[in-house]
């Protein structure tokens, strides 16, 4: 808590809409999203100077594909992190979904219906995670850690460990990620929708309230369990959807796609963008810019031809730096308990 104003309630703070433009700009700059955008711009400038191809159409397309999947995953994880939960198994649901779709397709279910069917199963996985976490009071870290192994085994079993090819008409394939920019458009659409959910619906507001003060939320009569379960269902479904998009883009299904790496990229995108790991605060836009920054780093260093062994060191250090910066910026802003 920063600087409580004692005494009369009419505190020294400025009134809404009145003056203080410089102050407002300062406050805006202290927002984690803003600092991440600044860093991203600096990185783009650096990579473009170091390698003229960075802003070429071909590379922008590659970059968009780096970015899309973690950003969609981040939309779910941000909702969970804000209400003090996490899903470690979303990367495994990512790998499972295309096989579910393919199996249904093999049984004669038409492709569009198979997509819906696969997503329904993913939603059911999220529901299971939620029910175990809430009903049996197992921390979601543990529930989803168990789920992570369980779903890996499930995917390996139904795929028998072999990759497969995606089916479907050309239009469907294009819409579902085959067209170069389909995946990033999906990601942006999902970001827009989830931003509205978080800022402009009760679901979002109550998610923030639960993470901020669970006792207060209970006393206000918020349906805590329902909100949390909804966020688990959301995350698993988005995870499955991302897996389908990637499968259609690549044109093949890999039982070892996604995985924990994908999950961590999603979580990191959110946290770099200012989502508090301790809950109660975060934005979807932050997840988008965090994901873009990670994408720029990955893509930029790939273009630079950096040694593959060095790559993870650089990325890891960058993620650490970004998170440390954000925690300290949060302190500067004087809010939050991060």
């Amino acid at each position: 808590m920063a600087a409580p104003h004692p005494g009369p309630l009419l505190a020294g703070g400025e009134r809404e809409g009145g003056g203080g433009l410089a102050r407002r700009a300062y406050t805006l700059l202290l927002r984690p999203e803003a600092s991440v955008v600044l860093v991203s711009v600096a990185l783009v400038v650096y990579f473009e100077l170091a390698n003229q191809n960075f802003l070429s159409a071909a590379n922008v397309q590659t970059l968009s594909q780096f970015v899309a999947a973690p950003v969609i995953i981040a939309c779910g994880e941000i909702m969970l992190l804000i209400c003090r939960e996490i899903d470690l198994s979303v990367g495994q649901v990512f790998a499972l979904a295309p096989f579910l779709m393919e199996n249904m397709n093999d049984w004669g279910v038409p492709e569009p219906l198979a997509i819906v069917g696969a997503l329904a199963v993913c939603a059911l996985i999220g529901l299971t995670i939620g029910l175990i976490t809430i009903g049996l009071r197992v921390p979601s870290f543990i529930t989803t850690l168990g789920m992570l192994f369980l779903i890996t085994g499930l995917t390996l079993t139904i795929s028998r460990g072999y990759p497969a090819n995606t089916a479907g008409g050309p239009l469907l394939v294009d819409i579902m990620g085959g067209w170069s920019y389909a995946e990033i458009l999906w990601a942006l659409a999902i970001v827009a929708a989830m931003h509205v959910v978080l800022r402009h619906t009760r679901w979002g507001l109550h998610t923030i309230a639960i993470g901020g003060n669970i006792v207060a939320s209970a006393e206000a009569g918020i349906a805590i369990n329902r909100i949390k379960i909804a966020n688990f269902v959301l995350t698993s479904t988005l995870g499955g959807f991302t897996g389908l998009l990637e499968a259609f883009r690549v044109g093949s299904i890999d039982p070892l796609a996604g995985g924990s790496n994908m999950m961590f990229l999603g979580v990191a995108s959110g946290v770099i963008g200012g989502t508090a790991i301790a809950g109660g605060a975060g934005t979807i836009i932050g997840g988008l810019v965090g994901g873009i920054m990670l994408g720029i780093l990955q893509d930029g260093f790939t273009l630079q031809g950096i040694n593959a062994f060095m790559f993870d060191i650089v990325i890891g250090a960058a993620i650490l730096l970004a998170m440390v910066a954000n925690i300290h910026l949060a302190r500067l802003r004087g809010g939050g308990t991060q």
């Binding site: 808590m1 920063a2 600087a3 409580p4 104003h5 004692p6 005494g7 009369p8 309630l9 009419l10 505190a11 020294g12 703070g13 400025e14 009134r15 809404e16 509205v196 800022r199 402009h200 619906t201 009760r202 507001l205 109550h206 923030i208 309230a209 993470g211 901020g212 003060n213 006792v215 207060a216 939320s217 006393e219 206000a220 009569g221 918020i222 109660g280 605060a281 004087g334 809010g335 939050g336 308990t337």
Partner: protein, 251 residues
């Protein structure tokens, strides 16, 4: 005076612990009742029964003279019973106006139920103004306010949602003199409206006597002393508690 709320012979046990042992209270509209007593005397259990959090083992509650069933917090709210909790049921990371409308958000019409931020801001501002609380902006995060300000926002929220019976659980706990003064002024203004019955749980005898019209002393789930505030003193109340304590120790 018109009766606002009455509880008769409330009994509540938790295992072997008797929290309430046939306690009865009655509060009129516009009256402020102070409930004093040590920790574990049953004060909080009383509040929790009146807010529908706990159900009594036996005993009945009447609101406006009619017997009522308080099966849930929502039941109590529907009858105009609002409680401001000791742990301050506010979310620090949310704005003042979001807190004031928590779980009672105003929505735009239409199928999607989007939050009507504009209307919530306006009404929150009006509600605060009406009971004399001035804040720089209702967009401020509650975490940036002082303890007294937060308490005031919590009270304003209860009043705004049309509370007829306002339960205050230690509204002055852990507050400095200036902060406490703020809340005492606020309660005075609510009293002067004359339409709200206030039940205030407290530890500080002097402050309670200053604010309340009548005080009761709760010990081991029963009322052991009851008096108009003007007819007793902090010394007398303290004396009763000490005597009780000595007797309990001797027994």
């Amino acid at each position: 005076m018109t009766e606002a709320i009455r509880a008769e012979n409330l009994v509540k046990t938790f295992g072997h612990v008797v929290a309430l042992d046939g306690l009865s209270i009655q509060v009129a509209r516009g009256e402020t009742l102070g409930v004093l007593g040590d920790n574990g005397a049953g004060k909080s259990t009383l509040i929790k029964i009146l807010t529908g959090y706990h159900r009594p083992d036996s005993g009945r509650v009447f609101v406006g003279g009619n017997p009522v069933e308080l099966g849930s917090v929502d039941d109590a709210r529907a009858l105009g019973i609002e409680c401001v909790y000791q742990d301050l049921a506010l979310v620090n990371g949310l704005s003042i106006y979001h807190n004031m409308f928590l779980k009672r958000e105003l929505l735009w019409g239409g199928p999607f139920g989007f939050l009507n931020h504009r209307e919530m801001r306006r009404r929150a501002r009006d509600a605060l103004e009406e009971i004399g609380i001035a804040v720089a902006s209702v967009d401020l995060e509650v975490g940036q306010l002082s303890g007294g300000q937060r308490q005031a926002i919590a009270v304003a929220r209860a009043v705004m949602s049309n509370a007829r019976i306002l339960l205050l659980d230690e509204p002055l706990a852990a507050m400095g003199a200036r902060e406490a003064g703020l809340i005492i002024d606020l309660i005075d203004r609510l009293k002067s409206r004359g339409d709200i019955a206030i039940v205030m749980i407290a530890h500080n005898y002097a402050q309670t006597l200053e604010i309340c019209d009548r005080v009761i002393l709760v010990q081991r789930g029963q009322i052991t002393f009851e008096s108009p505030a003007t007819a007793t003193s902090a010394e007398e109340l303290l004396d009763i508690v000490r005597r009780e304590y000595r007797a309990a120790r001797a027994g």
